[in-house]
């Protein structure tokens, strides 16, 4: 009996060994993205390498790089270097100060991160004014006097000014004296800027003891010839300056700032009669990292599922579901053969190839999905700017969102396609669905900021629809 049990155990062990050697290793590599993502949720790089724990994260409205927006609108200079969205601040992150950092330029530093809708970074002139709760005095006047044309909240006079332009950052105190240069990193195609303020100076070291800080984040157009580096705003845009959307609204008190963190409405709070400049309010940032709430994550998941269900219902009511995948493939193949330029049929054919791949073995799936993209990419190329483009892009985007990122790496393409559909359609529920799918695609390819913005836009669409 003992011997039989031993024999059975031994046989099972041999079977496990044989399976692992012949199949286990291959299967592991094929499906490695799943356990990788799972493990990735539990692993974190030491914060001293990544800039420190995040204390406060501010998402700024997208497409509000128009000065005071609805109240007064200013436009970019005509210089082609100013790409759309290059001055549109979308995210501002305050990190916890880091001490005893290894392998970093400064072992003690404080990181601030800014993210913009697009690059380049060379056209931006950024000023961040910081008030700390444990430093007295401060100033309510800007660093460059008449350049920014703003003043600051009396309750929060700034103690430090961080001037970021021309690929470098400089720190000043409230008297306008230079303190030190900062580390400047431009990332993600110049859409993200990380600034690390070294905590060497005694004045700056006081930040280590502060519980809260207040930040005024101002973004203007950079000009090396103008005071403070701020390219002015005149009546009309030209190569060397910005201009008003409505030239009659021009006033010398209008700040040459395209975007500030928080609401832009305060940029229109100047008073011509009393010659009062626009008064800005700061963002309040804690200096200690807090735990992320699970309830927000659950809310987001519930919202995403709700949007997907509503979209799925609307699709079920409009599309027939009586044909099998092979029948559909045959049907669209005939259409493509008779008209090779029929981009809608090309897109559906590619789509159904991918569906067939999902129903097949792993090896066949890889071949079919690769083949499907030859049709989908061709369809997207032919459909550009024509009627039916939405349908074609929807097919490609849906396939990109469904295939494993680790194997095919198509999530970024999928996100772009969904965002393109958003720009082409007026249907609020379709927009909401596309934003939600773009959110998932952005998360898969590690673009967290774009993902958050897409989700916010989806929430706006749902509110609009309601």
């Amino acid at each position: 009996m003992n011997m039989t049990i031993k024999k059975i155990r031994y046989s099972w062990k041999v079977f496990a060994a044989v399976f692992s050697c012949f199949f286990g290793i291959s299967l592991f590599f094929i499906f490695s993205s799943v356990p990788q993502q799972f493990i990735g949720n539990f692993l974190h790089v030491d914060p001293s390498y990544t800039g420190g724990l995040v204390c406060s994260d501010f998402i700024d409205a997208i497409d509000d790089d128009k000065g005071a927006g609805g109240l007064l609108e200013i436009r970019y200079p005509l210089n082609k270097t100013f790409e759309e969205g290059c001055l549109d601040l979308v995210r501002y992150t305050v990190h916890q100060p880091v001490t005893n950092a290894r392998w970093q330029q400064s072992s003690e530093y404080w990181q601030l991160s800014l993210e913009y809708k697009s690059g380049p970074a060379s056209v931006r002139n950024i000023l961040i004014y910081i008030d700390s709760d444990n430093i007295e005095d401060g100033s309510t006047q800007p660093l460059f006097d008449s350049a920014e044309k703003v003043i600051f909240d009396d309750a929060h006079p700034w103690d430090f000014a961080l001037w970021i332009c021309d690929g470098q950052g400089k720190l000043y105190d409230s008297k306008g004296d230079f303190i030190c240069n900062t580390e400047y990193y431009s990332l993600n195609n110049e859409t993200k800027i990380n600034i690390r303020i070294p905590l060497r100076d005694k004045k700056v070291q006081k930040l280590l003891g502060s519980g809260k800080t207040w930040h005024y984040v101002l973004t203007g157009a950079y000009s090396q010839f103008d005071r403070g580096g701020f390219m002015p705003v005149e009546k009309k845009s030209a190569m060397a300056h910005g201009g008003m959307k409505n030239s009659k609204e021009y006033n010398a008190l209008i700040p040459p700032l395209y975007d500030i963190a928080g609401s832009n409405d305060s940029l229109a709070s100047w008073n011509r009669d009393t010659f009062e400049k626009a008064k800005l309010s700061p963002l309040e940032a804690k200096m200690t990292a807090g735990k992320k709430s699970k309830s927000e994550k659950e809310k987001n998941e519930a919202f995403i599922n709700q949007v997907k269900e509503e979209y799925a219902k609307s699709q079920k009511t409009s599309l027939p579901q009586d044909k099998s995948t092979d029948e559909n493939l045959t049907f669209y193949k005939e259409k493509i053969t008779s008209n090779p330029e029929d981009y809608v049929s090309l897109a559906y054919y590619g789509s159904y190839l991918a569906v067939k791949g999902g129903e097949s073995s792993v090896m066949t799936a890889v071949a079919l999905v690769n083949e499907s993209y030859t049709y989908l990419d061709k369809a997207a190329q032919l459909a550009a700017g024509k009627e039916g483009e939405i349908e074609v892009l929807m097919n490609r985007a849906s396939v990109s969102a469904s295939v494993p990122e680790q194997v095919f790496g198509k999530s970024a393409v999928g996100a772009e396609d969904f965002m393109r559909i958003v720009s082409l359609t007026d249907d609020a529920s379709l927009k909401a669905y596309c934003y939600v799918m773009a959110y998932e695609c952005y998360l898969k390819c590690g673009k967290e900021t774009q993902a958050i913005l897409a989700l916010q836009e989806a929430q706006k669409m749902v509110q609009l629809k309601e």
Binding site: V14, F22, Q36, G40, V45, D46, R102, S186, M363, V366
Partner: protein
């Protein structure tokens, strides 16, 4: 013969899927796939004829992979950063490639601080932390320290240099035990130092392979000292000493991953066995072992297996005149097919084929080569394309 054909067919399937199909039948992929298949077929048939005669193909693969990896990796660095130097940008954005040698250095701090003390991507990249840790886990359970002798893209340099000379000029056999003691002592020093500093000390100061991958720019006295150290260690332990001793000196004396893999090898399915009844004590295995895993005492005291640092390379199998050394399952103990303690040969041809297929040596070689195929495919195809582009462009 039939078992070799079956194994070759199965490996051909793996090579076709991972190398050729996943790269859309690119010419470089087809070429590399054929090369891999050639190596495996030759190795399998050679082993079928004479046990241990297939090791030359393992050496060829590992050396070629080391060179190809270096070309592809450096090209990636130039694409990403424009140089081999580690930039502050890459460091501050946690974009450094995470290599397997950093694994033992980050594990203990991970348990204490719950953070990875290395500025690398966590996931979504071939050189991410999650990816390398998973590969290490699967490798530990299957081939164990066989990673060092079959897969490691750094060890291939020493594998190549250790076979340049025909005879060793320096004999390390009498010092094997001291070498192992130094290896583990250094390993524990690295672990403790990494825990105290919360940084990977080996990567910062000692890793000789920075010379063929990436390194910190020389802009201070500490970085100058570190540069001199890693260049010296590469030239000494990776080039000169392997030529003089015909051993893998860096792998057996310095590499912390090697020491770590030796400790975790107990969880792998396979181990090497020395049949003490067949062993004549000629010591050829001890002289040949590149990892200093067989001492004079190992044979004299009839331990029945190599020391803890055995990397299952099979070199000892190839030189043993009495076929006393073989691969076996770690869980075998005294088990045999019928459980009666006697070896039983199958009576049918099919039974003999199955017995050969399920032989630990065949399974180990298949597992190790599968790992090697999958790990190497992207790098080697990229390096072949670069080489083709270089020669095509120069014409």
């Amino acid at each position: 013969m039939i078992s070799s054909i079956i194994l070759s067919a199965m490996m051909a399937f793996i090579i076709f899927f991972f190398v050729i199909l996943m790269n859309n039948f690119a010419p470089a992929a087809v070429l590399y796939g054929l090369f891999l298949l050639f190596l495996f077929v030759r190795m399998t048939f050679a082993e079928n004829k004479k046990s241990g005669s297939g090791v030359i193909y393992r050496r060829i693969f590992q050396t070629v992979f080391a060179v190809g990896f270096c070309i592809a990796f450096i090209s990636d660095l130039y694409d990403e950063r424009g140089s081999m130097a580690i930039t502050s940008q890459a460091m501050s954005n946690s974009e450094l490639p995470f290599c397997h040698i950093a694994i033992p250095q980050v594990l203990v701090p991970l348990l204490v601080t719950k953070n990875i003390i290395f500025p690398a991507r966590i996931s979504g990249h071939y050189a991410s932390v999650a990816s390398m840790i998973l590969i290490w886990l699967v490798c530990t359970l299957t081939v164990g320290r066989g990673w060092c002798s079959w897969i490691c893209f750094y060890g291939g340099w020493e594998e190549g240099f250790s076979h340049v000379a025909k005879k060793p000029r320096l004999k390390l056999l009498p010092r094997n035990k001291e070498l192992r003691e130094f290896h583990f002592g250094f390993f524990f020093f690295i672990i403790l130092a990494s825990l105290c500093e919360l940084a990977c000390i080996y990567c910062e100061w000692f890793c000789p392979f920075k010379l063929v991958t990436e390194f910190s720019p020389v802009n201070s006295i500490p970085s100058l000292i570190a540069t001199v150290m890693f260049i010296g260690l590469f030239l000494g332990l990776v080039v000169v000493l392997p030529i003089l001793t015909k051993k893998r000196t860096q792998c057996s004396s310095l590499c912390p991953f090697g020491a770590f893999a030796s400790l975790t090898d107990r969880f792998s399915i396979f181990q090497m066995k020395i049949d003490t009844e067949k062993c004549s004590g000629c010591m050829k295995c001890a002289s040949t072992c590149p990892f200093s895993a067989i001492d004079i005492k190992t044979i004299q005291e009839k331990k029945g297996h190599p020391e803890i640092t055995c990397a299952k390379c099979g070199e000892c199998v190839s030189v043993c005149p009495n076929k006393a050394i073989s691969y076996e399952f770690r869980f075998k103990k005294n088990m045999t097919a019928c459980g009666c303690g006697h070896n039983s040969k199958p009576k049918t041809a099919a039974g003999r084929v199955i017995q050969q297929l399920l032989h630990p040596a065949s399974l180990f070689r298949f597992a190790a080569f599968s790992f090697a195929v999958i790990m190497s495919s992207d790098f080697m195809i990229k390096s072949l394309n670069l080489i083709a582009g270089f020669f095509g462009g120069s014409k």
